[in-house]
Symmetry: C2
Amino acid sequence: MPRPQSDIDAGRERLVEQAIALIEERGNSAITMTELAAAASMSPANLYRYFDSRDALVEAIAEYWFRPKVAIMEEVIASDLTARRKMFEFFARRFTMMKEEWERDPLAFAVYVELGRDNFEQVRSYVDLGDHYLSLIIGEAMAEGYFEGLSIDETLSLVNQMVSVYVNIGAMEMVMPRLTTVKLARIVDAIFDGLSARDRGSAGLAELRSVQNA
Amino acid sequence: MPRPQSDIDAGRERLVEQAIALIEERGNSAITMTELAAAASMSPANLYRYFDSRDALVEAIAEYWFRPKVAIMEEVIASDLTARRKMFEFFARRFTMMKEEWERDPLAFAVYVELGRDNFEQVRSYVDLGDHYLSLIIGEAMAEGYFEGLSIDETLSLVNQMVSVYVNIGAMEMVMPRLTTVKLARIVDAIFDGLSARDRGSAGLAELRSVQNA
C-alpha cells in the first residue's frame, strides 16, 4: 500500500536537510545517493522511493534553497508599494538573506555557488521565475512613465546586468564585503531616474546609429 | 657576460607566448616550469634565467594579457572626450576586445578566467590601475556637475558594481551572449543621469536613515 503523500513529502524534506548537512559538512557538492542513504541510515532502494534519481535530489535541494527567496518575491509583488520601492525590496530582501547565509558560513555558500554552476538546468526555472516577477515590476514602472522607449525585455536585461552582483551568488561571492543595501538603493534610483532608450551621448556615432535602429 | 636586457626581454616575450599556446592548447592553466622548458626546448635551468619562479611567469602572462587593455585605458584617458564619452569608451573598447577573444576561443577564455581566479595577487595591480583611471574620469564628471553628493570612492564602487558584467571576465563569461555595447551605452547614460547621493524613495525608512548617515 503506498504511503500517504504527506508522509512521502515529510520524508523528502528530512532527506533534503540531511543532504544539505552532508554537503555543507564536506564542503563539496558531489555526494552520491549511496552516501546519502548511509547518512540517513536507510537502504539505497528505500532512498530511491523518495528520489528516483540524483537529479531529482538536486532539484529538491534547489527547491529547498530557493523556497524562502521565492516567498520574498511573491510577498513584494503582492504588496502595494510603488514600482520603485518594489524593485528595491525585490532585490534587497533576497540579497540580505543571502549575505546572512554567506556570513554564517562562507564555505557552505561557496558550495551552493558550485552546485548552482554544475546544475544550471535545475536552477534555470527559478531564474525564469525571478525574470517573470521582475517583468511585472517593470511593467508597473512603465505604467508610471519610467524606462521611456524601452521594451519590457530590454529593460529586464539592463536591470539584471546593473544589479548582477546583488542577485547572482557567484558574482556576489567575489565582492560581498563591498555590497550594501545603501549602494543597492542608489543603483535602483539610478535605474529609475536614468534608464531610457534616449541616447544622451555616451556612445559614439556608430553605436548611436545602432541604438536608433535597435 | 650577461646578455643585453633587450635579449632577455625578447626571450621572455617568446616564452610567455609559448606558455600561452601551451595553456590554450591544454585548456588548463596548471603548467609547470618543467613543461614550459620542454615545450621551449631548453633546460629548466635556462628557463629560470628568464623567470626566477612560476609566480614570475604567471605575472608575465598577466602583463601580456593586460597590456592591450592598459593601452586602451591610457588612450581613452589621454583623449579630449567628455567624461561621459570617456566612461563609455573606457569600458566599451576593452569589452569589445574581450568579447572578440571569447568568440575566437571560448575554452581559452575560460582558462584565463580560471588563471585570474587562481592568481588574484598577480591580477590585483591591474584592477587597481583600472580603478585609478576610472577615478580620473569620475573626477572629471564631478567637475562637470555629475554624481552630486557622492565621493569619488563611493562613485567608483557603484560604477564598478553597475558595469561588473562588462569588466569582470568571470561575470562576463556567464552572460556573454546578452552583452552588447548598445546596452552598455544605456547603462553609462543611466549612471550619468541617475546616480547621486540624493535618496529618491527606492529604499524604505531604515535604509533612508543609513543613507543620510553614510
